[in-house]
């Protein structure tokens, strides 16, 4: 596995004070937070930042990390030294230390192998598993494209739960489930899978699994709730005189009449052609008048003729 230079990640000196570490973390967290950031690899950078802070903010972990010495470089092949007891530092703190978002069991958003080899991975899941109690509810994200949201789809999810074995050790259990997601889910909507959360320890009921639906941006359609908007190019004479056209919708192309006197930017509604639901969303067709280029004598003559004969001033109020 590769060595990670946590000081370099946070951009601080090895001698940095706890306050300096915190300030550096706050600054980077704000810059790369996935909810806020527009940077390209924001999520990966944010995770890296969190992992570094997890170690450097904790005097015990930081001391253990510092023991490795300052000769290591980022990306260098690394193996913990014999007799390494950094896991004890992880162990002591395990009740409070958690992954970035508590979703680690589902989404593989765990810290790096490097972190795990130093401070123990399973330790993070062990806390609180000893009492008999109902299983907790869990939460995961699913990413769909717009077509899948329109038609409904099936997703295969791998769910992981730490399970306490009789000898007191913790084993990661993995289950694969196939989930039917019905047509018409929208951005941010929740989907519940009863009993698919964390299994109960002892005699409780299993928790539920909640999936939060995210719909990836589409090249052609803009989504707003269940409504979709599509930009549609038309010629000036189609706008002026009206025209019958075919427009794409999520369910396939449909015929539509452009009214005479339509303007660029105007929206026409196709009722019920958005995402299905109660009620179904609508599709808006936003007209965009595209002018023919005046790149031939003939085209120029036509424009000249309009200028001479139409007496048109677009800026007249």
């Amino acid at each position: 596995m590769e060595f990670r230079d946590y000081y370099k990640v946070l951009g601080v000196e090895r001698s940095a004070t706890a306050d300096q570490v915190k300030t550096a973390y706050r600054r980077l967290a704000r810059r790369y937070h996935p909810d806020v950031s527009k940077e390209k690899d924001a999520e990966a950078r944010f995770k890296e930042t969190q992992e570094a802070y997890e170690v450097l903010k904790d005097p015990q972990k930081r001391a253990a990390y510092d023991e490795l010495g300052s000769d290591w470089k980022s990306g260098q092949q690394f193996r913990p030294p014999p007799g390494w007891d950094g896991a004890a530092a992880g162990h002591a703190r395990r009740a409070r230390s958690r992954g970035p978002d508590g979703d680690a069991q589902f989404t593989d958003e765990q810290f790096s192998d490097f972190f795990s080899s130093l401070f123990g991975a399973e330790a993070r899941h062990a806390a609180g598993a000893r009492r008999a109690r109902a299983g907790r509810d869990h939460h995961a994200r699913v990413e769909l494209d717009l077509e899948e949201a329109f038609r409904g789809t099936t997703r295969t999810l791998e769910l992981r739960h730490p399970e306490l074995k009789p000898d007191g050790s913790v084993e990661l259990r993995s289950r694969t489930v196939r989930v039917n997601i019905p047509a018409g889910v929208t951005e941010g909507q929740l989907v519940r899978l009863a009993g698919q959360g964390e299994p109960a320890a002892g005699a409780g009921a299993a928790g539920d699994l909640y999936l939060e639906v995210h719909i990836q941006p589409h090249a052609q359609y803009q989504l707003d709730g269940r409504d979709v908007t599509v930009s549609f190019a038309i010629a000036p004479w189609e706008a002026a005189l009206g025209a019958a056209v075919t427009v794409p919708t999520l369910g396939g192309a449909v015929a539509m009449q452009i009214p005479a006197g339509a303007q660029s930017g105007q929206k026409l509604r196709l009722r019920g052609r958005g995402l299905p639901g109660q009620p179904a969303g609508d599709q808006y067709v936003q007209l965009k008048v595209v002018l023919p280029p005046a790149d031939t004598p003939q085209a120029q003559a036509l424009y000249e003729e309009m200028r001479a004969k139409l007496n048109f001033n677009p800026r007249a109020t």
């Binding site: 970035p100 508590g102 939460h139 993995s174 489930v177 941010g188 929740l190 999936l211 707003d224 930017g265």
Partner: protein, 101 residues
Amino acid sequence: MVRVTTAVLEAHVLSEGDWIAAAQVCQLCRIDPEAVREFAELGLVTSRQTQGEWQLPATALPRLRIVSRLMRDLGVNASGAVLALELLERIRQLERLAGDY
């Protein structure tokens, strides 16, 4: 690691009109009930009491998760997180309008 495969599951979509217990929301967002109460006071979510159970609309969960992440990861307080979320939503809305045309 032990692997188990189960059959196909039917998903129940929670939409407008579905409510879930505040206790569940707290667990899913990893926030304490006090924070949820504060978010309700700040107008981020509505809540109701039904048969002695405190409930929140299912549609509120994504927003609650974002503000709780902002609080936890960036060290801002509840008002700051709500402000940031509202600004982010406005930016997204404007970007959508700008992208339309």
